[in-house]
């Protein structure tokens, strides 16, 4: 992948050693996400304490971009409030789809995903985990699909 070297290294590293990989038992919220195009399957688990995302994990299988994105996401949202997580969700969406997206400081390491914009077919891989987290926080029961 011709992503800029730094972001490439971040993605390769998080793909190889995903952080917060594993499941959380109920009463953790969980939601399943599926990208039928690649066959990616992710489950995101989140424990809320009041309004704060106390713990978040994911498992499943997918391409490097989807796994790295999920891994980065769990690092980014842990300890944040739901509103902050939703704000990041919107910021990531812009980062992945808009060439003129401002590089917000709160994105931190998530900025590594910006290069994915150059691969339109892969944007869904990077956004799957965020849709799935959103569903988990909403407590939605139906599996999320990118199609």
């Amino acid at each position: 992948m011709d992503l800029k070297d730094l972001s490439r290294d971040v993605i390769l590293d998080h793909n190889k050693r995903p952080r917060n990989f594993g499941r959380l038992e109920p009463p953790a919220h969980e939601a399943r996400g599926h990208n039928p195009l690649c066959g990616d399957q992710l489950t995101v688990y989140a424990v809320l304490e009041g309004d704060v995302v106390k713990d978040v994990r994911f498992d499943g299988s997918g391409c490097a971009i989807s796994v790295a994105s999920a891994s980065l996401m769990t690092e980014a949202v842990k300890g944040k409030t739901r509103a902050e997580a939703e704000h990041l969700y919107a910021a990531i969406h812009d980062l992945l789809t808009r060439a003129d997206a401002p590089s917000l400081p709160e994105l931190g390491k998530l900025a590594a995903l910006g290069g994915v914009r150059e691969f339109p077919a892969r944007v869904k891989c990077a956004s799957l985990c965020w849709h799935t987290l959103h569903a988990a926080l909403e407590g939605a029961a139906a599996p999320v699909s990118t199609e």
Partner: protein, 414 residues
């Protein structure tokens, strides 16, 4: 690019490649190596020009006007039908129905042939290798009628278990529908045996020929199948046009599946008389330029010769299989003895999608995913594969590039 050994089959590959304008471009700074022919093949100039000539000199609606252009369009459209008939060796043009592709051809049979004939508990027999286009229309028919879908198993090489297939044929089987060639694994199915077994029990057979038509000469009479479906765009022709071959006696007995213009002889509110074959199944204005382009594609393929195409592709398949098998951590998915020229594979530690993106950076186009054949891919124990599928315009040098790029993808993820 490393120098590939000379190719044993005499095809003037450079001259043939020059017939395909799209192949001469660069993708991401590299010469395009188009190895996604199983999804859709590229079109030679002869096809592009035939479509254009139709639009520039012949276009009007078919079968309707008394004016000159309408007559020209009708003649061109019906000449295309005759060209298809000759190519597949149908007895008559009444057996050649134009559709928008394999998918529509199969749906036509599901609606007009199968649904009116089945009762709850009757069975349709398919295989684990099918493309979704040869699964879902039958599932819908089953839901609507109470019929039951039976699926013949495959083995770990991706070959059909013919004994199990035989055992699944029953007194309730109303139709057998199988691929001629599997798009996900490349397996060539034993269609002669399938037809013989089914016919021995009086069961008609539909063959999904989407992946077979560009590779082998087809003789529907020798094969003795009852229906054969294929798409123009996999045969170097236009998209949006395809064919359903059907045995005339069966087509005669089937009600139309869509209503509209062209498929009627007379309409009144007291009752409508349907047109004869093949028009009965062609409601509405058809894809005329597509049919003309498809006929040009058939002319093009016939001029090269399907035998020579098959020999060239067999060499590419063997070369690619050997080259890819040498790559450490790579596993070929689909190892049937008889395969068409495609190789599905996985690389340990690298998701097929990432392989696809990295290969694209090298100018190499392949398909990744489940190839619209989720049951077959899941049966092989993988969520997805990378698939390189070859046409006669591909070369050993392109396969060398493929192997080199796969190696660099693997190394990147180490």
């Amino acid at each position: 690019m490393s120098a590939a050994p000379a190719h044993p089959v005499p095809l003037d590959i450079e001259r043939l490649r020059a017939d395909f304008p799209i192949l001469s471009q660069r993708i991401n700074g590299q010469p395009l190596a188009y190895l996604d022919n199983g999804a859709s093949a590229q079109r030679p100039l002869a096809v592009i020009e035939a479509e254009r000539n139709y639009a520039e000199t012949m276009h009007a609606n078919v079968h309707r006007g008394v004016h000159t252009l309408s007559q020209r369009a009708t003649d061109a459209f019906e000449a295309a039908r005759e060209r298809v008939r000759r190519f597949i060796h149908a007895r008559s043009t009444r057996e050649v129905i134009f559709t928008k592709g394999t998918t529509e051809s199969i749906n036509l049979v599901a609606h007009s042939f199968l649904r009116p004939r089945v009762k709850p508990g009757d069975e349709i027999l398919i295989t684990w290798l099918e493309h979704h286009a040869n699964i879902v229309p039958w599932q819908l028919a089953c839901e609507a009628t109470g019929a039951v879908l039976k699926v013949a198993p495959i083995d770990r090489n991706g070959e059909l278990d013919l004994d199990a297939f035989r055992a699944l044929l029953s007194d309730r089987t109303r139709l057998v529908a199988t691929a001629h060639v599997s798009n996900a694994l490349g397996t060539v199915l034993p269609v002669r045996e399938i037809v013989a077994l089914a016919h021995a029990r009086g069961v008609p057979v539909l063959l999904d020929g989407a992946q077979a038509i560009p590779h082998f000469a087809l003789d529907v009479q020798a094969l003795d199948c009852d229906f054969y479906a294929f798409s123009g765009h996999k045969l170097y022709g236009p998209d949006g046009i395809g064919v359903l071959y059907g045995r005339e006696s069966l087509l005669e007995s089937m009600p139309p599946w869509q209503g509209g213009g062209d498929m009627i002889l007379s309409v009144s509110f007291a009752g409508t008389t349907y047109n004869q074959l093949p028009f009965k199944f062609e409601a509405g204005t058809p894809h005329m330029s597509g049919a003309v382009g498809l006929a040009a594609a058939i002319d093009y393929v016939d001029a090269i010769g399907l035998d020579r195409i098959a020999a060239w592709e067999a060499d590419l398949l063997q070369y690619a299989t050997t080259k890819l098998a040498q790559i450490e951590d790579l596993r070929i998915i689909g190892t049937a003895r008889d395969k068409a020229s495609l190789v599905s594979f996985v690389v340990a530690g690298v998701h097929p999608h990432d392989i696809g993106t990295i290969l694209d950076q090298h100018g190499i186009a392949i398909r990744t995913g489940h190839h619209c054949a989720m049951p077959a891919i899941e049966f092989m124990g993988v969520p997805a594969t990378a698939r390189a599928s070859f046409a006669f315009y591909n070369t050993r040098a392109e396969i060398d590039r493929l192997a080199d790029a796969v190696r660099s993808a693997r190394d990147m993820f180490r």
